[in-house]
Symmetry: C2
Subunit: 341 residues, 2 copies
């Protein structure tokens, strides 16, 4: 069996069902160790079965010590997971050859188990319900409120007053700010007819959801239906193009195809409509414990799609200084097709 | 002049007054470069004077390229700032010797400028006002609410509905949970006489505030006065001891003393009262753009205190399974003494 070390919280949680904010997970053959400091050892011992909890002030120095003690000759590590300073400390174990294994944990997590699928489904369900609560708030309160306030309320409503964690800080962007894939919220106010883009998600038992919707502001704004009406024909054309691109990509996603072919399916629709150069990012990304996991759904990704991968499909068109549209859902790969979660 | 590279957002902001979430800052002698991707170049060029904005998809690969192009022989970098994978990419520049400079930026930032002191003072003022708003909410609403709800409301109220950023996720801990320096919020409910610990801060123009208060819950709970009354004599003794320790440490802080002597001043008071082993962390830390900066105020820190350092003084006593008390303020070092901000 492979010997490996993990530091990333979600990677550790995946292996043993517990993590805190200062830990190292080690596996030497069939022996497994969880190193943490005195703040967390009591809880770690309660929660962890079948592995040894080790207490240390400096968890990385302790890991180096244990590598030397157990005379571990070869250890896999993720070079994205350790800083140069941490790795220097780890290399104090002179016995050990450190084998770089980029995305070691994310590769293990690319196919979701039935249990994980259930948890992600529940996160998606709660995320959807939160979008509906936010739409209700918008209908009643958003007129003349600015983006900063909208983003604050979106985060508060998604969390349902402390009940749920966010997958990430929600993006709520109005009109031309929606044309920036990473917009900072401004003092721009919502008016009747403003275009609003909402990109948000919540966690359920640490598993993430991720969704984007776009709609025009009026007293009936809602995110439950994907067909949306816009006053301007340009907005309508852009929205309908993105929706068509998303539907095409969803149909293209199934076991055996390459990830780049899903990206291509979306990109072709947008290119044909004349907006090719305004689709400035890739089509999707895996979702699980991390909000960004494997597979990457991009023009360059050669990953072969397999059953029970879960990822987003989120094409977009961004017209600088005007507005932007992105429509995002999560899909699970079933035996013959992609099912929207 | 030193050649150096920075990746940390606050380190970059300190050098040039702008940062986004994907950038590299390079200084070669008197030439300065800001490398970022296409999402941010327009804004970077607007905001940055006297340095060159370079656009690249992969900012680290671009930095390596520029190091080779400019034939840079020696470059300082912070080994805490780069992952092993990023550093491997940087080392593509064969011309360059990379000199590790741990805490390179934090060392530059240890003495605050007059402008920074003003901004931090404003952050502290706004943080204090937020504590008062939260106390008002507690008086009116907290009875029978649980810790999760309290933490959510504290974060919302500190942000003032989207106006301010948080320095960190606030800690609101009740009774025995306050005995854990890093408590996870629970379903534990607030009752008359519950002990409540609040550790929170806000940012003003990116500069942080940080403050901790403890009080007993009743209809008059407030955080404006440091003298607090408790029903149980044990709580009162612990609280008064921590307060005395904090006052002693504040008096010990002045130019020319060692950081460890400030820690010792607080620790002696707590030891004499018989609670020495329950003061499980160090006495304070610098605050600025980052919530944790230099100097470290600990038993081991030999740093000589200088004028215009700004740091927290926050002794505590944690009685496992019972309760905990920490009292925290930020001080600025004036010519002859520490001034509470």
């Amino acid at each position: 069996m492979t010997n490996f070390i993990l530091k990333n919280e979600n990677a550790v949680y995946y292996e043993c069902g517990f993590s805190c904010d200062n830990e190292i997970f080690l596996q030497f053959g069939s022996d497994r160790f969880f190193i943490t400091d005195g703040r967390y050892t009591v809880e770690a011992k309660e929660k962890l079965r079948g592995l040894k909890v080790v207490e240390a002030r400096d968890v990385i120095a302790k890991a180096a010590e244990m590598l030397a003690e157990h005379k571990i000759k070869k250890l896999h590590y993720d070079p994205n997971d350790f800083t140069v300073a941490e790795f220097e400390k780890l290399k104090a174990s002179k016995y050990t050859y450190f084998e770089p294994a980029p995305d070691f944990s994310k590769k293990k997590r690319i196919i979701k188990s039935n249990k994980e699928i259930k948890l992600i489904r529940e996160a998606v369900r709660r995320g959807e319900a939160a979008f509906d609560r936010f739409a209700l708030w918008l209908r009643r309160n958003a007129l003349n409120k600015n983006e900063k306030r909208l983003q604050f309320e979106c985060a508060a409503i998604m969390q349902n007053y402390g009940e749920l964690d966010l997958s990430f800080d929600p993006i709520v962007a109005v009109n031309e700010n929606a044309a920036k894939p990473h917009a900072f919220p401004t003092d721009r106010e919502v008016k009747i007819g403003s275009l609003i883009l909402v990109d948000a998600g919540v966690k359920y038992e640490r598993y993430c959801s991720d969704r984007t919707r776009v709609a025009e502001y009026n007293s009936e704004i809602g995110f439950d239906k994907k067909a949306q009406s816009f006053l301007s024909s340009k907005r309508q054309k852009v929205y309908d193009t993105v929706l068509k691109a998303q539907e095409k990509a969803i149909r293209a996603a199934k076991p055996g195809v390459k990830a780049c072919d899903i990206d291509k399916a979306a990109r072709e629709v947008i290119e044909k409509a004349g907006f090719g150069k305004y689709f400035v990012h890739s089509t999707g990304h895996g979702v699980g414990l991390d909000i960004h996991e494997l597979p990457v759904i991009s023009a360059k990704s050669e990953t072969i799609i397999e059953e029970n991968m879960i990822f987003t499909i989120e094409p977009g068109i961004y017209l600088p200084g005007e507005f932007g549209v992105r429509i995002e859902d999560m899909v699970r790969i079933a035996p013959t097709r992609a099912v929207v979660l």
